[in-house]
Structure formats: C-alpha cells, structure tokens
Symmetry: C2
Subunit: 366 residues, 2 copies
C-alpha cells in the first residue's frame, strides 16, 4: 500500500490502452517470465461498508486520515475504491497488457484490525470466503493471503487453519500493530504457532502508526508510505527479531514488503548492538541477521530501485526476495519494467518474478 | 553513539596493546591514508554532573534508561564515562595505534537537550569553550562540533555564531528531538538560518525517542542503536526533507550518522509518495532525493557494512559519505578495518577517510 496517486498532484496510476495484449507473448520484447505479483490489494463490500461506518466517527487515527482520503467517493481523482473491489475487469486487463500472470491478493490495509473482536473475526471470515471464490473463478490468475483478527488470537488460529486446510489459501496477511500491540507479545503466540504448524507464511503489511505514536506523522502527509508505514512495520519486525520469539518458532516464515521495511539496511548495526547490549540473560540461538535470513522473506513492493534490489540480494540472498507491484496503489507498468530491467541474471529473475513466490506461497508451478 | 559493549555480554570495546605505534607508518601494511573520524563522542565534567543530578529523578525517559546504564560507576564493565572524558591518553593511544589522525569531537548524546533553557545554554557554552581548548592543546588531532540549546533558538543562534567566529569550531551537533519537537518547525528556524549563514554543517545525531513515543522501545533494550536511534533520527530527517523547509535554506548542510539513519534506503519510495501524495498546494523545488543529495551528507558510524557502503555511494555519490568510528561506543579497530578493506578505489577511499570531511567541516588539509 503506497499512498497512491489518488490525490494530490500528477496521477501515477497506470495508463492503459484499450488493446488487449496476448498474454502468451512477451510484452515489449522482454523475455516472457512467469510474473507473480505478491503484494496486491483487494477489498470486499463488507470491508468498505464497515470502514465507512467507522469513518463517520471523530476518531482521528492515522489509518482513517489515510482511508478517508483514498476512498472518498466525492473525490473525482479517486478510482481506488473501484480498483480495490475489481478482480474481473480492469485488474485483469492491466495484468494481461503487462504480462503479469498472477496477483497474490490480500485484503487491503488496515484489514480488519480497527474493529472489535467479533466484527473483525466475522469480516475476516467473509473476506476469506470471497477470496477463495475469486481464486476458484479465475484459475491461475490469483492466489490469496487469508485475513484473521489478531484481536482474538485463539479464533484467529482457527480461521488460519480453515483458510489453509479448507479454503486452500496461500498464507496470511496482517497489517502491523493491533491496538498498538505487536505480535512478539505472548498473547499473540497462537498466531505464530498456527502459521508455523500450517507451514504457511505470514505477510506483515504496513498500516499507519498507532494513535499514541501518531503525533510526528500528522504533518506533511507522513502517515503512510512517506515514513509512517516503514517506521511502524520496521519497528514491528525488529521487535520480533530481537525478542527471542523466533527461537520458539524456528520454522515461522514472515514476509515483509517494501524491501523489508528498512530492516535489511540495519542488520549489521542490529547485530552489533544485540551482541553488545542485549537484555541481561537473553541469548538467542542465532544472530539477528541469521534469524532474519531464516525466518523472513521480503518483497520489492513500492521500491522500484535497482540499487536497493542489488543490496538486498547481496545481504539476504536472492532466494529471500520476491517481486511485487502493490496494485492498485503503485503504478503497475513501472513495477514490471523495474524487474524486467533488473541488473541480475535471468536465473535470478526467474526466482524474483515467480520461483520464490511459488516456493514460499506454495503456488503450483505451471 | 552505539549501545556500547559496556553492559551485557562480550565486550566489543577496543582491545589495545601497550605498544605505541609510529603514526607516520601504515598500520597493518595498509596505505597510510589520512584518517579523520567524524562522529566521535566526548563529555565534560559539567555534562556528567548535570546528567547525574537529573538522573536522581524518577523520570523514565529512554535517554535516562540508556544514560544510567552507560555511565553507572557501580558497573565494573562500564569504562565509558572515563573514555568520554579522556582526550589526552587512551583516546590518542588508540588513534595512534590504528593510524587515525583526527577525531571530530562532539558532546555525547543527548547533549544539553534534557535541561531547561538556561541550564542548557550554559552547559553548551562551557562545553564549546572546553572543546576549543582541547583542539588548541592537540594541534592536528581534533576538530569539533559545537553544542547549542535548541530550547532557546535565539540564544542558540548566538552561540553558533560564537562557536564558529570566535572559537573556530567546525560545525554543530544536535541530538534529534528537543522536547519531542523537530527542527523543521518554524520556532527552530533561527538555528537553520544561523547554520546556513555561517556556512557550517549541522550534525543531527541520534537520541532515544521522546517520552510520548517511547512505549514500544521499552522492550528488549530497543531504545538506542537496536532501533530507537534510527527510528527517531530517521523520522527527524524525513520531516525536514518533506516539509519544504530546505527550499528556504537551500545551502544548509545537514550530516546524518549511521549511514543516513535509514533515509537513503527509502529515497525511491519517498520520492514516489511525495509525487503522488504531497499536501495540497505544496510543491518543493527539488524531489526529496535531489534535496537529500544537495542538503545532506552521511557518515558510516556504527554500520561497518561494505554492502551498505556500496549502496550509499551508488545512490548519494561518494562525495556525500564520510568515515566515522563512533568512539567510544563502537570498537575502533573494526571501524578502521572496515574502511581499510572497503571495495572502492583508493581515490574514493581518500574522500571517505578525509577529503569529504575536510571539505564539509573545513578542516585544514595537511
């Protein structure tokens, strides 16, 4: 989720021609890799309605500052609502034009995490049913990450089981904090336990910083992808990384978007500090860097920088990096072009465009 | 300031032999670059006493959580206090052994920023007098960044003028927020105005997040270089970058430590978001990336990673990167070895080790 071109200045949303491209041909002469985009947002009428109902309050949570801006139907520059709800028309047309085979769909941020436990649990269940149906109706074009309500960790674990074993979804999505709390806290361990037992990855997607940490992000529209998202989600990931909880769940796989939310940049410093200054009596089995490489994978969403791509491949290994667009918040053509022209071997490009996603999300190879 | 090896597990502080090295020879057979370390901490008896006095309170600011740990005289593993106060003995011996010609000294974090305006202004003035005297007593071995009290911006500007024009110091140091406020706010503009007019750089060094943002950093000793420092200081830098204030002070030079506190990693994303989602009516003359390259320089303090070094050289240009140790919080041998073995040309190494520092801090070339 990037703070999209829905408002403000020049639109950065995809410009598409009317012509339908032949999906079997290589677009623009580029080798026709299978392209699986791994952080692609959708919404449901139920999420839209529930958020709109909450939005009539005076709650000034940063997530609402952002949500109201993005989905305001009175804003003629805001096609985002329609794009989030569409999985049958424009989305597929853009995918076809750009040679994108598959979107790994996830309920858009902040998911169900602004609701009371019962409402959130119900919304997640309905969204997961819809997601499974969308995937069924479009064979080969979609995979999906299941929502759950961290507000009720025990019921969340049950829904996670249903999502994988009944609905055959490919993993889970959570939008960073829940009520200002983070998943390293023991109350949430049933969620990690379920993800590990189900051998399915948990994508920790950004949302805006919680209310009590919001103050400095209220200026200059910093609440989302300028800095609030990476500040919030990077903090979340580092808490998990240095809490020791990964010793308890060594097979847990967490996915971070946006090139790892800044954590890969600081692994050397985190290692050094942890070695010098960890809490008395704590000693993790692995260094933070080792744990990051074992337990985390990242996607390229929202950061179409070859310099960053080269960096994360060097420090994490190409196996831990997956391509993503962040549709509809990010312009799809630029994201495809970014990876088409990446300064890596075709073998690595196969891994980045689809191989790693197939392995991590258990997507059938074609 | 890294959360040093003063506590916890294995010491990471420098191990030095008794033998004095001949400073004119190349240490370890490496070409004998002039080495200017640009983020090196010192303290004054007045700062130590004033912090100790405040430390008797129940104030649980994260800066005090850290300060008490680092300087607790009852902790036998804490030689940091002595190392901060020493500029005549062990510091010079370690510099000599490693072929380090010069430390650019700055009053250790959180500087004078936890005191009332009068106390802070006075402490800064005394520290600057001491710093000028230290430099005078050790020709060629030290340069210095002046402290000031952002609590009183007008008097700060006067002290900045005195520091450059009377004391001949090389720039300024500030430790991120002051009372939870950031330098982009108009009340602080006299500080930017003075720095620009004096053509002297402002080093924005980390301190811990302010009290109202502290909560998630109270676990797992995350308050300092694990994540609190970079979270706080990165936020500060991004506020400055997207506020538009750099259009007002186009010649201001800001220095960030720790490889730019994460900001360089996210420049692509910040540009994209700013273009799509900037506040209505705001349009900066430069993109955030262009402004960062014009108005900021960074140092390598606390991040001895060749992968990060290559990245920042690629995105910022080698002219914008300076070497630093972060003595006494970071082990000096590792920091010297990091740059001795950096995968860059000798020409670039000359810039990183001293050339850029000479230009930015106006240090006389030898």
């Amino acid at each position: 989720l990037a703070a999209a071109g829905a408002l403000g200045g020049a639109s950065v949303l995809p410009e598409t021609s009317a012509a339908e491209a032949d999906r079997t041909r290589s677009p623009g002469g580029v080798r026709n890799f299978r392209r699986i985009a791994t952080e692609e947002a959708f919404s449901t009428p139920e999420q839209m309605d529930a958020m709109a109902a909450l939005g009539h309050s005076v709650w000034n949570s940063l997530d609402f500052v952002l949500w109201r801006a993005l989905t305001d139907s009175k804003n003629p520059h805001s096609p985002l609502r329609d794009r989030l709800l569409d999985v049958d028309h424009e989305r597929l047309r853009i995918m076809d034009e750009l040679g994108v085979d598959m979107h790994v769909l996830s309920l858009t941020s902040p998911g169900v995490q602004m609701f009371d436990p019962d409402t959130a649990t119900s919304l997640a269940s309905v969204a997961n049913d819809r997601l499974a149906e969308i995937i069924r109706q479009h064979p080969g074009r979609y995979a999906g990450l299941a929502s759950f309500a961290p507000q009720d960790p025990e019921r969340a674990a049950k829904e996670m089981d249903r999502a994988v074993n009944t609905l055959k979804l490919n993993g889970f999505i959570v939008n960073s904090h829940t009520g200002g709390e983070y998943l390293d806290e023991p109350k949430f361990w049933p969620i990690f336990e379920a993800a590990e037992a189900l051998d399915a990855p948990l994508y920790i997607h950004p949302r805006c910083p919680p209310d009590d940490l919001a103050r400095p992000f209220r200026d200059y529209r910093m609440e989302s992808s300028t800095w609030g998202f990476q500040s919030e989600t990077g903090l979340h990931a580092v808490r998990i990384l240095v809490s020791g909880v990964l010793d308890r769940f060594p097979k847990l796989k967490i996915v971070l978007g946006h090139m790892g939310e800044g954590v890969p940049y600081f692994l050397w410093r985190i290692d050094y500090t942890y070695n010098a200054f960890r809490p008395a009596g704590q000693r993790m089995k692995l260094t933070p860097t080792e744990a990051f490489k074992r337990n985390f994978a990242i996607t390229t969403s929202g950061v179409n920088s070859h310099a960053v791509l080269k960096y994360v491949i060097e420090v994490l290994g190409v196996e831990n990096v997956m391509w993503a667009i962040d549709y509809p918040y990010q312009a799809a053509p630029g994201s495809v072009e970014f990876m088409n022209t990446a300064p890596v071997s075709d073998d690595d490009k196969e891994k980045l465009f689809h191989g790693n996603a197939e392995r991590i999300f258990k997507i059938a190879t074609t």
